[in-house]
Amino acid sequence: MLYVYAAVSLGAMPAPLRGVDGETIWLLDSGQVGLAVSAHDAEVAPTRERLLQHYRVNMALLGVPFRFGNAAADETELRRLMAARTEDLARQLDKLAGCVELTVTVRAPAACPSTPGPEPGPGRAYLLAKGALYRRGADVRAKSEGILRDYREELRDGSLRLACLMEADRVGAFRERLQGDGQLEVSRPWPPSSFV
């Protein structure tokens, strides 16, 4: 069985890598892109350690990350599955190669934004708070201008989560731009899986 980690540029394989269960990774030429794969005797079921290994390989490769668990019986089947996907993956690789994503979580302020007139009811208060979150998200994007290549917004648990795509060597500059804002929480870098 061939387990797939990511799509990368042909010839872009870094120093020898070991992946899930310590297996050696190599590049399979799939036409326009290379696929980083490793061989396994059995299905690769998810465990914490294997998820970490998959993550570590993707952070080393910085290509188009595959979700954990993609595998094919052999090279023939993998090429068959890839036949209709190669062009799309090549386009994604143009966009994502060398990039990571960081998640910026914007917490809701302790108090609702004040508005003139009587105190808003719960529905209006919710909309005001939501609007305030999105404005803070816009602030983050404005501060990150020139660094952000793309972003995704999501409201979750009363907070706004921004998935921010950037080149890996701009992470330090991105963190500096947002430093000192106590309502923001910036994650570690991750493979850019929100953008595939």
């Binding site: 998810p46 914490r48 998820l51 970490l52 993550y55 595959f66 979700r67 668990g69 595998a71 994604q92």
Partner: protein
């Protein structure tokens, strides 16, 4: 055996599941994860997620529905 390169790598299971198991390119069908009656996030167990094929003999596979996370 723990991969020595992973020791000290401080990643929460929630983040790992969100970034590595829930997102990314999917080549084949949909991910179906069968879990036996465990609130996997809130219990925070260092748990083993069994693939649908490996548990099919014991439990019918079911997709875990979660307000913040759904397998695709």
């Amino acid at each position: 055996m723990i991969d020595p390169e992973l020791e000290g790598l401080d990643l929460s299971l929630v983040e790992l599941v969100d970034h590595v198991l829930n997102k990314g390119v999917v080549l084949v069908g949909e991910a179906t994860i069968a879990i036996a009656d465990i609130d996997l996030i809130y219990l925070g167990l260092n748990l083993v997620l069994a693939s649908a094929e490996s548990v099919r003999g014991k439990h019918p596979p079911r997709v875990l529905e979660w307000p913040d996370w759904s397998p695709r």
